[in-house]
């Protein structure tokens, strides 16, 4: 038979049904033969009753409505949330495009600074070659064996001067064609030999 000192600490949990089956059986057998422990157990049960009477539940009027109101205030309609999401997305795209453009511009600038020759190449793409290019035209077969063979030379000057020599023949008959697009002027120069004054 168990001693009261061993059983007393278990009575509270016994009244709550929180003991293991073995402990429950042990306390039950003790209570069968111990009136003092039975009284203690009854007091514990009554104590719970008194507590529930003495400390009533606070009024919960409007509790559910208040909670649901607060939640509804947080939870905006789907349409509002979708529009907000699109706004955020748009903001992100603008940022991405701006950053991308800035990165490309920076890369181009660095490329130009790192390779000065690139400047010339880029310029030629838009304005033609920086230095005059002289081309020797393909020679045609002589039409008259007596006449000196003409050498046709075409040349151009930097386009930023706008004027250019479209044809220049150094040997007789000397001919030079000088164009100035700005003035819409074309000058055709003929040497004495070619003028027929001879």
């Amino acid at each position: 038979m168990s001693h009261c000192d061993d059983i007393a600490p278990l009575l509270s949990a016994y009244s709550d049904g929180e003991l293991s089956p073995l402990e429950t059986d042990q306390v039950t057998r003790h209570l069968d033969s111990c009136e003092a422990c039975r009284d203690t157990l009854v007091d514990f049960v009554l104590l719970g009753h008194h507590l529930r009477s003495a400390v009533p539940m606070p009024s919960l009027d409007g509790f559910v409505e208040n909670v649901m109101g607060s939640i509804a205030a947080e939870r905006r309609p789907l349409r509002d949330r979708a529009l907000n999401w699109l706004d955020e997305l748009r903001g992100r795209w603008v940022a991405i495009v701006s950053l991308g453009g800035a990165a490309i511009a920076t890369a181009a600038l660095l490329l130009v600074l790192a390779e000065p020759a690139t400047v010339g190449r880029l310029a030629s793409l838009f304005h033609g070659p920086a230095n005059p290019v002289v081309e020797v035209a393909k020679q045609e077969p002589p039409r008259n064996p007596v006449e000196p063979e003409p050498v046709a030379v075409t040349a151009s000057v930097p386009s930023n001067s706008q004027a250019f020599i479209s044809r220049l023949e150094a040997k007789p008959p000397s001919v030079a064609t000088w164009s100035e697009p700005d003035n819409k002027t074309t000058v055709i120069w003929l040497g004495d030999d070619a003028s027929g004054n001879d």
């Binding site: 929180e18 009554l46 507590l51 529930r52 003495a54 919960l60 509790f63 559910v64 909670v67």
Partner: protein, 165 residues
């Protein structure tokens, strides 16, 4: 609805920790709002109710810390807070006797330490299991058991004449 189903328990848990009924109701409402906001974080490792009570207890503990409203066991504040708890109604002799008993019970509750008062209120008022109480108070189940035993024994001694009446 979940709010309807758990409101009483949630407010009860908060009340066991803060005691002031108005604060408890406010904390109870805040508990459901927090639960709604953090529903995705509920992983199902504990029951939904335990998760809810833990939120309530965390909020109540934060509340006490933040507002310095923690009711000391023997302070004047504790007395004032407990006086706010409404007593029974009616003017019959039986009602008066009930009021007197309730007053003595509330006086006796003030004699307990905060830890002992918490466990006995969570158990007797809210009917929570030892497991749930240990979860809420973050202490071992054995501690809950021993605190409850002490709280009941102490209250029993204090209310000996009430028990006899």
């Amino acid at each position: 609805m979940l709010v309807q189903r758990y409101q009483q328990r949630v407010v009860g848990v908060a009340r066991a920790l803060v005691h002031n009924p108005d604060d408890a109701v406010e904390l109870g409402q805040e508990t459901f709002i927090r639960a709604f906001q953090n529903l995705k974080s509920f992983e199902g490792r504990s029951s939904f109710s335990t998760w809810l009570y833990r939120i309530a207890s965390n909020l109540a503990i934060d509340w006490r810390r933040r507002e310095s409203r923690y009711m000391v066991a023997h302070g004047e504040e504790a007395e004032n807070e407990l006086r706010k708890i409404p007593s029974g109604e009616g003017d019959s002799f039986r009602a008066l006797a009930r009021d007197e008993t309730s007053r003595k019970v509330r006086e006796a509750l003030k004699e307990l330490t905060a830890e002992h008062r918490q466990v006995i209120l969570l158990r007797e008022m809210e009917g929570l299991s030892y497991e749930e109480i240990s979860d809420i108070l973050s202490c071992p189940k054995g501690t809950v058991m021993s605190r409850l035993h002490y709280a009941r024994s102490h209250l029993r001694d204090l209310l000996k004449d009430v028990e006899a009446s």
